[in-house]
């Protein structure tokens, strides 16, 4: 079924808090945030690639041309190059996860997550290549079998036990991040495993300096390499400890109310101190840690589902796992530890004047917040499997009126004729004739997002105009 700006509210089960739901719409800020260009992101990309080249440069300068005459020397050299690259990429990985405000501003959490995934895959390959090439190279040089050589390395070389442990953990972390394996694991287990990658940083540190051909001699290279470690560690400390600490001490967020939006969705309202000074854009997310007995040790990313208004924050959460189920029972006054705000899924990151928003199910939450900050003339397509899955509809309809936004509720399974018709290049163009000239913001289940990107590309929307909200990390 397709309802152009229709009122399907009567079909919806669950309750809306008129107290809060009505109010949020009344606080619409006419402000459209200023645009943020890609300059910072490009600068960072250039810096990171420059660093990569600089990390291999010592090998290049140390190795006289024509010196790699035997197979062993060649294989060992390749092992050294991949080792230097792996060492550098590991630092990049940790830096990207340091949650430095600058990085979030320049690149954005979603894109960082994508970079992190791509660099992670490369790092995994680089480490495996480093280990195997060095093993084969050394074994060839000393006329040992590879296994004997592994034993020799472990026994006779300094720091190699911890280095092997680091490689093992890294491979484990890398493999559990392969999408197929990861979806089969509980988030908590995956997260715990991923946290152990800090151990990789620690365990892998020693062998680079005691055995690394380019690093064991004191000199500028060694100093520079240690400086890189110090820099990343400082970034980590700042982004993960100091900045969140100041944020939470300043705002002291606590739960004000928990409201059911639908049978399986809840909204959590938060209050705090000095919220008028909160720099939050609609569509951004925080990592939330609810300080109750069962929940304090996990942090989960949820979008804020209303633009900042200086008085309260709201997040709307679909109950899917053990953790989110526990959120139903939050009591008013519970302290909340928040890290953020993060994300470039905001009106500030648009490239065009108008926008098309496509939401699926609970993916409406960041889009609902963003609607308040987009210039008038936006369009929203809201996909939901059943009418009961349509969330926050009263607010959306209100916003549609207040901000001159066209909203289509497209309800039904993916194979129903209505949704199929809308989610085609022609269907999109019929609803939004100028779709190719708009920024498109997508948030929803992966299936919907992938399908939409395909359709949008065929409808002629350039890739840089397509914005995705992903909470992979």
């Amino acid at each position: 079924m397709t309802y152009p700006r229709a009122h399907a509210a009567g079909r919806r089960t669950g309750t809306t808090s008129s107290r809060h739901g009505g109010r949020s719409a009344a606080d619409v800020r006419p402000l459209v945030p200023p645009r943020r260009g890609p300059g910072g992101r490009r600068l960072l990309a250039v810096l990171l690639v420059g660093g990569l080249l600089a990390s291999v440069l010592p090998w290049w300068l140390d190795t006289p041309a024509g010196s790699l005459r035997s197979t062993a020397a060649t294989v060992t050299a390749a092992g050294r190059i991949t080792g230097l690259i792996a060492g550098y990429l590991l630092l990049v990985q940790v830096l990207m996860m340091s949650r430095l405000r600058v990085l979030e501003h320049w690149v954005g959490g979603e894109r960082i997550a994508r970079w992190h995934r791509d660099v992670g895959a490369t790092l995994l390959v680089a480490v495996l290549a480093h280990v195997s090439l060095i093993l084969v190279g050394y074994a060839d040089l000393e006329d040992n079998s590879v296994l004997t050589e592994a034993g020799v390395l472990l026994r006779d070389h300094e720091d190699m036990v911890s280095a092997f442990a680091a490689a093992g953990i890294l491979v484990l972390v890398g493999l559990t991040s392969v999408r197929a394996i990861r979806t089969a694991l509980p988030y908590e287990l995956w997260h715990a495993l991923h946290l152990s990658s800090y151990a990789v940083l620690l365990l892998g540190f020693g062998h680079q300096f005691s055995n690394g051909a380019q690093l064991f001699r004191p000199g500028p290279v060694r100093t520079g390499w240690i400086a890189m470690y110090a820099l990343v560690l400082a970034a980590l400390l700042w982004g993960r400890v100091v900045a969140p600490l100041t944020f939470n001490l300043r705002h002291r967020l606590r739960v004000a109310d928990v409201v059911a939006e639908s049978p399986d969705t809840i909204s959590i309202y938060l209050t705090g101190d000095r919220l008028e000074r909160l720099e939050l854009l609609g569509g951004q997310f925080f990592r939330w840690r609810f300080l109750t007995r069962g929940c304090w040790w996990q942090s989960h990313p949820f979008s804020v589902s209303a633009a900042t208004n200086g008085r309260w924050l709201r997040l709307t959460v679909k109950v899917v796992g053990a953790h989110t189920a526990g959120l139903r029972d939050l009591e008013a006054g519970t302290r909340v530890w928040a890290e953020g705000p993060s994300g470039t899924f905001t009106a500030a990151h648009r490239t065009r004047e108008r926008a098309l928003l496509i939401a699926g199910g609970s993916g409406i939450t960041p889009i609902r917040a963003m609607l308040e900050e987009l210039p008038p003339g936006a369009a929203l397509i809201y996909r939901a499997r059943t009418p009961a899955d349509v969330l926050l509809q009263r607010e959306l309809d209100w916003l549609a009126e207040a901000r001159d936004t066209a909203i289509w509720y497209v309800v039904g399974s993916r194979d129903d004729p209505g949704p199929r018709q809308v989610m085609s290049p022609d269907g999109l163009r019929r609803l939004v004739p100028d779709v190719a000239k708009r920024d498109v913001y997508l948030c929803g289940p992966p299936g919907l997002v992938e399908q939409s990107v395909r359709v949008l590309r065929r409808a002629g929307v350039p890739r840089r105009q397509i914005h995705l909200a992903t909470f992979e990390l």
């Binding site: 190795t63 041309a65 024509g66 390749a78 991949t82 895959a121 390959v125 040992n144 006779d156 004191p218």
Partner: protein, 197 residues
């Protein structure tokens, strides 16, 4: 994911390209000229696996033998105690700063002896027929391990008060755990002595 594949391919390709560029034999001749004293012929190590095996077999004794008079492993990190990495620098001035008492002082350079860990080249200083100083112009120092072994060998043999000057010959004990480097050292040294006489 496409980008990750791209990055991995780039990693493999650039590693290969770098190794190939550095390994290209066309530039070998130029390197030989870069060596400090490029004239002596390169003597390849005759026994390939034998020294390596010897090195390995005595490895435990080296690990346990703290009695060997050489900088300890941890000292490898301290900037001050690194005589070998710059083995040419600290010992070379000794030959020049020493007041030249007689015009018969001369230096003779041995050939570059190659083994699987790198090259060894020794230079001796003679006053008359007496060896007064030995300097290793080149020692394998590419890896931390071979650098350490070279340091052992250099510390034991080289210098105006080293084993070679004491014995006045190349017949010195092999440094345990560094057989290949010791052997190459002695070979270059012997050639230098032969050339001097």
């Amino acid at each position: 994911m496409r980008r990750a594949l791209f990055a991995i391919t780039g990693l493999a390709a650039s590693t290969t390209v770098m190794v190939v560029l550095k390994g290209s034999p066309g530039t070998t001749a130029q390197v030989a000229q870069d060596l400090p004293t490029g004239r002596p012929p390169v003597v390849p190590a005759s026994a390939g696996p034998a020294p390596a095996d010897a090195d390995r077999s005595v490895a435990p004794s080296r690990a346990g033998g703290t009695a060997t008079p050489r900088p300890s492993r941890t000292a490898t990190r301290a900037p001050a105690s690194r005589p070998s990495a710059s083995s040419r620098a600290p010992s070379a001035p000794r030959t020049t700063t020493k007041p030249p008492p007689a015009p018969t002082t001369r230096t003779v350079t041995g050939p570059v002896v190659e083994n699987e860990y790198g090259n060894v080249q020794v230079q001796i200083t003679l006053r008359g027929t007496r060896i007064v100083d030995v300097v290793a112009l080149e020692l394998p120092e590419e890896t931390a391990q071979s650098d350490q072994r070279s340091e052992q060998v250099d510390g034991r043999y080289s210098g105006s008060s080293g084993l070679v000057v004491q014995r006045q010959s190349a017949a010195v004990d092999t440094v345990s755990g560094a057989t290949a480097t010791s052997t190459s050292y002695k070979r270059s040294l012997q050639a230098a002595i032969d050339r001097a006489n």
